[in-house]
């Protein structure tokens, strides 16, 4: 019996069109834009200046505190600017721009394709390498990985769960990574498991990826502490709280960290990055993303250098017409349920970018909102057992206290409510807005 989480959820068509396309190496761009805001927490601080020569893998920005991450050069060349540039959302952020010349790597990085199974580092050394490699959660949230691996007072990790659910429709980058680099993922998982102490390792994979389940099981057989748990196909299974519930049957309480249930969750992509950082000395300068659409000619998986402008992927995929206009109405950075709409095609993809989804107007255009018919479909879909219809009304009325009383801060912004609403009400939009206002007010106090 496959497992799944116990509350709410939806079953969107998975549209994993690009699942059988092997990961291709995306050409190194002429110029990369490395934002200092590629992780949750304090932005990194640049340590290079305009005119500096850098090699691939060289440190270009230091972390600005514990909850922060360093950034490394993803190409070799000359730093042509350190200034504010609009990112893919159009928001201006401090960016290091590097003009590429050649592909000159730091000599300390092991570039061979040979898999290094033997683990020689102590848990302390592994932890140090992970934090110095600038590894962040590659499932989308980009939370610095070393912070999640740091024990908190009074909380003991018992399980390390590798998240291979990839429940967002369209995305196949985690799937391809499991198919093509399953062994490395397991070694990466084992490295993190050692940092956490003697915990059990579990890999959660949804049933719509039978080959990945089979392969990861085969690899896991070589490790004593690891097992693969198949999960039913259901969104948002890859949400940290839902995954813990699905795998262990434990629920994360309000205002608590997931580790309070004894589980630490890391994405399979993160595990791969940890393998590269510890076993190969390679910092996080590349990742795998899916470039996809309902057009069969634009369904690919690419291994890319961070900081590559979004436009390069669209051009390579043949998304624009000959006159340069885009054939699609919307470009989404990430999956269709939680990804962000790209506002600036010259903005760059980041460490944690898992996909670029091209949607036509017909596929994505919102319908005119109608009247709430009190069908309670949003309530049934909400994986956090919130009452979206009520939160929506309270948000419109600006009733901050009532919103908090109805646990608005438990919302994980999965979008199940808005997806399910037959009246097409902008439920999550209003809830998110009201919550941000309420958060801001709290900070002021």
């Amino acid at each position: 019996m496959s497992k799944t989480f116990s509350i709410g959820g939806i079953h969107p068509n998975d549209r994993k069109f690009s699942r059988d396309h092997p990961i291709e190496e995306f050409p190194i761009p002429k110029r990369v834009f490395l934002s200092m805001n590629q992780h949750l927490g304090m932005p990194a601080v640049p340590v290079v200046q305009k005119g500096d020569m850098v090699k691939v893998g060289q440190l270009i920005a230091e972390p600005a505190g514990f909850v922060s991450a360093p950034i490394h050069a993803s190409v070799s060349g000359t730093v042509s600017d350190v200034a504010l540039y609009p990112d893919f959302l159009g928001k201006k952020v401090l960016t290091v721009v590097i003009d590429t010349s050649g592909d000159d790597w730091l000599e300390s990085i092991d570039r061979s394709s040979e898999i290094k199974h033997e683990i020689t580092d102590t848990p302390q050394e592994i932890f140090k390498k992970i934090s110095e490699a600038g590894i962040v959660g590659l499932g989308g949230a980009a939370f610095p990985t070393h912070v999640k691996l740091t024990p908190l007072e009074g909380m003991k990790a018992e399980y390390l769960i590798l998240n291979g659910a990839e429940c967002e429709p369209y995305l196949t980058s985690d799937y391809r990574l499991m198919i093509e680099h399953g062994q490395e993922i397991l070694i990466g998982g084992e490295l993190m498991r050692r940092v956490l102490g003697d915990v059990r390792g579990i890999i959660g994979i949804e049933e719509n990826k039978p080959r990945a389940i089979e392969l990861m099981r085969k690899h896991a057989a070589h490790f004593l502490q690891w097992e693969v748990v198949p999960l039913k196909k259901r969104y948002p299974q890859g949400g940290e709280k839902q995954l813990i519930d699905a795998v262990l049957g434990r629920k994360v309480p309000s205002f608590s960290l997931p580790v309070s249930t004894g589980a630490v969750v890391q994405n399979v992509g993160t595990a791969y990055a940890v393998y590269e950082a510890v076993q190969k000395n390679k910092p996080l300068i590349s990742n795998v993303l899916t470039v996809t659409s309902s057009d069969p000619s634009i369904q690919r998986n690419y291994h890319f250098r961070t900081g590559t402008p979004v436009r390069e992927f669209l051009n390579a995929a043949g998304a624009p017409e000959q006159d340069g206009t885009l054939r699609f109405a919307k470009v989404v950075n990430g999956g269709p349920m939680m990804g962000k709409a790209v506002a600036n095609l010259d903005g760059a993809v980041m460490k944690s970018t898992s996909g670029l989804l091209l949607l036509t107007e017909k596929e994505t255009k919102r319908q005119e909102p109608g009247e709430c018919i009190r069908c309670s479909k949003c309530f049934q879909a909400c994986p956090m057992r919130l009452q979206p219809y009520l939160l929506y009304q309270l948000a419109l009325a600006g009733r901050t206290e009532a919103l908090e009383e109805h646990r608005v801060f438990d919302c994980i912004e999965c979008g199940c409510c808005l997806y399910s609403c037959p009246a097409h009400l902008p439920l999550l939009d209003q809830i998110r807005l009201a919550r941000n206002v309420s958060l801001k007010n709290k900070r002021k106090k």
């Binding site: 939806i10 969107p12 429709p169 262990l248 049957g249 434990r250 629920k251 994360v252 309480p253 309000s254 608590s256 309070s260 249930t261 004894g262 206009t325 885009l326 109405a329 919307k330 989404v332 269709p336 349920m337 939680m338 990804g339 962000k340 709409a341 790209v342 506002a343 095609l345 989804l357 949607l359 107007e361 596929e363 994505t364 255009k365 919102r366 319908q367 109608g370 009247e371 709430c372 018919i373 009190r374 069908c375 309670s376 479909k377 309530f379 049934q380 956090m384 057992r385 009452q387 109805h406 646990r407 438990d410 808005l418 997806y419 399910s420 609403c421 037959p422 009246a423 097409h424 998110r432």
Partner: protein
């Protein structure tokens, strides 16, 4: 500049819509509609057509000319109300009474409260009760259906030509619930009643039980229920809790004295119980939103229905029961859902 569509996540929608839900309800109502026309003939069709047209027209006129907004009839909710209202009326309903019902349903019960999603009471039921109180004679003029499947009624059609020579396709009779109520009140026992009248469960299941259009066949309603469940328009909780409550309530009475009480199956198969439990108690707007609320709502309908059926003045109480529980919905919606998790659980 690139022309890009920007909006917050999610970027996909289930494609579910109010119109699609209403269309599914209409499809689910079709077996009951067809069965009523099959058993009661053209006059049933007339009631249905007048009711649907009336409801749609009243909504269109009110929205367009009174509220001066874009007409909302395309959401098909008025069609659903019209169909359900028709199923709540006797075959012999005169056209003007049906139209009055439409004004009561859409004009008073729905639009006065703000239209779709804002009404407190089920519009079709408000209209039914309004008509029941205003026109008690017409509303209880139950026609005897003349199924060709009942040999004992084969003789009937000949006598159905009225005084002016127009074809009537029904004659008046009493509903099984009415027969029981009156009979038991007059000191008769269940045994004698079932000898004097046709109270066959087989006929109730397949058709031509005397009563409102929608009471024609239990099987047709069950088909509709199956479709609604299959299409995930409704969850089984409300209908199930209504039916189980009625069965348990009737069962207890029947066990204490089988000669003076009808058995549970009789109560389940007769009257508008199934029609009410499947199509009216499940109306989104006028039913609670949380599972616990739905359970209380369903049990409440079952209990009130039985109280009216056994001790009330009317033989049937489903309509009153649903309206009564409709009034409690705003309170039932105050029930907070079980919280996600307060304490750490170690499974």
């Amino acid at each position: 500049m690139d022309k890009l569509l920007i909006s917050p996540a999610p970027h996909l929608h289930s494609k579910d819509s109010t119109r699609r839900i209403m269309r599914d309800v209409i499809i689910a109502l079709m077996p009951a509609v067809l069965v009523s026309v099959y058993f009661a003939g053209l006059s049933a069709l007339l009631v249905i057509v007048v009711s649907v047209t009336g409801c749609v027209l009243v909504e269109h006129l009110i929205v367009r000319y009174l509220m001066k907004k874009k007409s909302t009839v395309h959401d098909l909710s008025a069609v659903v109300t019209g169909l359900i209202l028709a199923l709540n009326l006797p075959v012999s309903s005169p056209w003007w009474m049906v139209l009055t019902g439409c004004v009561a349903a859409i004009g008073i019960a729905k639009m006065t409260f703000g239209g779709l999603g804002h009404n407190l009471f089920n519009p079709a039921l408000v209209a039914r009760v309004f008509l029941l109180i205003s026109f008690p004679v017409q509303m209880t003029n139950w026609s005897v259906s003349n199924s060709i499947f009942r040999p004992d009624r084969w003789e009937l059609p000949k006598g159905l030509l009225g005084a002016q020579g127009q074809l009537l396709d029904a004659a008046s009779g009493a509903t099984p619930l009415g027969i029981i109520k009156e009979g038991l009140a007059n000191g008769l026992t269940m045994e004698t009643l079932s000898q004097q009248h046709d109270l066959s469960y087989w006929h109730m299941l397949f058709g031509h039980i005397d009563g409102s259009l929608g009471e024609a066949s239990v099987l047709a309603i069950l088909l509709g229920l199956a479709y609604l469940l299959l299409r995930k328009v409704i969850k089984p909780l409300i209908p199930l809790s209504v039916l189980v409550t009625v069965a348990v309530f009737a069962g207890i009475l029947w066990l204490t004295d089988p000669s003076m009480n009808a058995d549970p199956l009789f109560h389940l198969l007769t009257g508008g119980l199934l029609l009410g439990a499947v199509f009216m108690a499940t109306d989104y707007t006028t039913s609670p939103m949380s599972p616990l609320g739905m359970l209380i709502f369903g049990v409440g309908i079952g209990v009130v229905t039985m109280i009216i059926r056994i001790w009330g003045a009317y033989p049937e109480g489903v309509s009153f029961a649903i309206l009564f529980m409709n009034a409690l919905v705003p309170l039932l919606n105050k029930i907070k859902p079980f919280p996600y998790q307060k304490e750490v659980s170690r499974g």
